[in-house]
């Protein structure tokens, strides 16, 4: 079985320099493929050379977002405390845990969505390609272009299907083949077949599952690198849920996905790594255990994790 050392995050010293990384690519690739094959039984994914791969000692996929001792406050209330986790490139990282443990809050710190709520504060570091996302000179708008988001409730704009997908590229002043981009985005969101004859109709006329896939198409049309998904299937029927999960498995070839889910089967089925969070006495969420999904579900280290994944609490 997995002999992952379960590091909550790779210490920064582990990362090689970019120059060295270039030469190490082949090696890294193989190592990463092997590691993935062993850890999740899923087909290996291609690693992009440009994405600064990092040859970790444990030969895992390189980390793209790294949370270092992150705490988040609503006013004086600490919603999550001292979170240190790693989000690895081209993997699906699932955040699970009982209601109110701060999964969504944590997710929304990653693309600075919480900036929009007055009176909130982040402590610790969130690094994205080694850049501190909360440094004063970082533009939160640019952060959200690179780290897209899909919300719990499908929220298409009250515009046509086409305009929904084209909205982000137009914001960025996209000059190329917009029709082609809309088509490929809808294609990748597995929605093109359903809507190709009615691109001009309102996005709100679609069914719930289709709306959520439209939101995914809208998110990927801006070519983000990371997609955050906040319980994207909680309002969907099982069939639509399965479609979204299949879609996620395809999307991770190109993107990195972090998903918050209440559904443990979903985490077990669809994710590569799982972060289990719980609420402490002071109602602040913290990470109980994090690691490859197979390990969390079959051989958890922590009794609490075992109780949770086996359905004994939460």
């Amino acid at each position: 079985m997995v002999t992952d050392a379960d590091p909550q995050f790779d210490p920064p010293e582990d990362s090689t320099t970019d120059a060295a990384a270039g030469e190490l690519v082949n090696q890294t690739l193989t190592a990463a493929e092997l590691a993935q094959d062993q850890s999740s039984g899923r087909s290996p994914v291609g690693l992009h050379v440009a994405r600064a791969p990092e040859a970790g000692a444990n030969a895992e996929a390189p980390s793209i977002v790294r949370l270092e001792g992150v705490s988040f406050y609503y006013g004086s209330f600490r919603a999550v405390k001292d979170i240190s986790i790693d989000v690895r490139a081209h993997q699906i990282t699932a955040l699970i845990g009982p209601s109110g443990c701060g999964k969504s809050t944590l997710l929304r710190t990653i693309n600075r969505m919480n900036d929009l709520i007055p009176g909130t504060r982040v402590e610790g570091r969130i690094r994205y390609h080694e850049e501190d996302l909360y440094a004063p000179y970082v533009d939160p708008v640019e952060v959200r272009r690179r780290i897209g988001m899909v919300f719990q409730k499908a929220n298409p704009f009250p515009k046509s299907i086409y305009d929904n997908v084209a909205f982000g590229p137009r914001l960025n002043g996209f000059k190329g083949d917009l029709d082609g981009l809309v088509e490929s985005s809808l294609e990748r969101a597995a929605l093109w077949g359903d809507v190709k004859d009615k691109l001009k109709t309102s996005g709100l006329s679609l069914s719930g599952g289709q709306q959520q896939r439209l939101c995914i198409a809208r998110a990927i049309a801006t070519e983000p690198e990371v997609i955050l998904m906040d319980e994207p299937c909680s309002a969907l029927d099982p069939r639509s849920t399965l479609q979204i999960e299949e879609l996620m498995a395809e999307l991770k070839e190109k993107y990195t996905i972090v998903i918050v889910t209440h559904n443990m089967q979903q985490a077990a089925r669809a994710s590569d790594r799982t972060v289990f969070m719980n609420m402490a006495e002071d109602r602040a969420g913290y990470v109980v255990e994090a690691g490859p999904t197979v390990g969390i579900f079959t051989d958890p280290r922590n009794q609490m994790t075992e109780d949770y994944v086996s359905g004994r609490f939460g």
């Binding site: 007055p118 708008v141 690179r146 899909v150 919300f151 929220n155 009250p158 982000g168 998110a219």
Partner: protein, 309 residues
């Protein structure tokens, strides 16, 4: 077995057939209907009364009533100056109060930090909407009339003073209704916009405002309808009671004496000659028609831009 079954059936039937008259419910429904009928009756009597008196004048005078100037002789008196005045006042309110009011509402809803000061300002804007209009008239007299007199624009009792006074009067109304329309836009839309990397300006301009347009339009046109009917502030801000002659020049139009439809109604209603009663009713009918057209325009705009969520 069959015995117990029979008892059960009997009990069920007994309770099912116990239908009685719901006295309180019926009384309540009747009260609701009576209230509605009372309102409609008052309106019908009012309009009917004015119509029986005013329609003959409109029929007899025809377009002359609309094109003639004010006069102390009932047979020649017309409302042309009032129509021009009301049209110009409406335009000034639309040009001044709408942009300032809508921009203020956007600032309060989308940009202002949620501090005690912001809430204090918001509450006071609501209070301003409740201030009697005659108080705004005093403001117009003390500020705008004095200002234009100091600037040498005639006596200062001109349509600019009147328009500014009405604009200030409806400003709180425009702000409140626009702010409510903006607040009614679901937050999920804003989140969706920010989530794909839109800036605040882009979210406001491309997502929030288009969705709020129907509500904003409705509110602003209703504010306009309110301004159309105001009399007291205009009289204080220098609208002329009685007749005057209008010069043709642009300077006279903006700097000379002015009046408006509701002011004419007020003036004529006080005149001793019996003939002015009918003229007053005719002017009221015109004012009502203008207001109904404004409201109809608001409904048209709302339906046209309405979006379903």
């Amino acid at each position: 077995m069959s015995n117990s079954q029979a008892i059960t059936v009997g009990v069920v039937q007994g309770s099912l057939r116990r239908r009685r008259v719901d006295v309180a419910g019926t009384v309540f429904a009747a009260a609701l209907l009576l209230s509605l009928l009372f309102t409609l009756a008052v309106l019908a009597i009012l309009v009917g009364d004015q119509m029986t008196r005013g329609l003959p004048v409109l029929a007899e005078r025809g377009t002359d009533f609309f094109s003639a100037s004010l006069s102390s002789r009932p047979a020649q008196a017309g409302i042309a100056q009032g129509l021009i005045g009301t049209a110009m006042l409406t335009a000034m309110v639309a040009l001044l109060a709408f942009p300032i009011g809508i921009l203020t509402a956007i600032y309060l809803e989308e940009y202002a930090p949620n501090t005690g000061l912001t809430r204090f300002i918001a509450i006071n804007i609501r209070n301003l909407a409740g201030v009697p209009s005659v108080v705004y008239g005093l403001l117009g007299l003390a500020v705008f009339v004095a200002l234009f007199r100091a600037l040498g624009v005639g006596t200062g009792r001109n349509i600019l003073s009147g328009g500014l006074t009405l604009a200030v009067l409806v400003l709180p109304l425009v702000i409140i209704t626009s702010a409510e329309a903006i607040r009614a836009v679901p937050n999920t839309i804003r989140e969706a916009g920010y989530g794909i990397g839109a800036s605040r300006w882009q979210v406001v301009r491309q997502l929030v405002l288009p969705s709020a347009v129907p509500g904003i339009l409705t509110g602003t046109v209703l504010a306009l309808a309110r301004a159309l009917g105001e009399t007291a502030p205009l009289i204080l801000a220098g609208a002329v009671l009685g007749s005057f002659s209008t010069g043709g020049s642009l300077g006279d139009l903006f700097g000379g004496p002015y009046t408006a439809l509701p002011v004419i109604v007020y003036d004529w209603a006080r005149k001793p000659q019996e003939e002015f009663r009918a003229l007053t009713s005719a002017a009221i009918l015109v004012l009502l028609a203008v207001t109904i057209i404004a409201n109809g325009f608001a409904i048209f705009l709302r339906n046209r831009y309405d979006r379903r969520w």
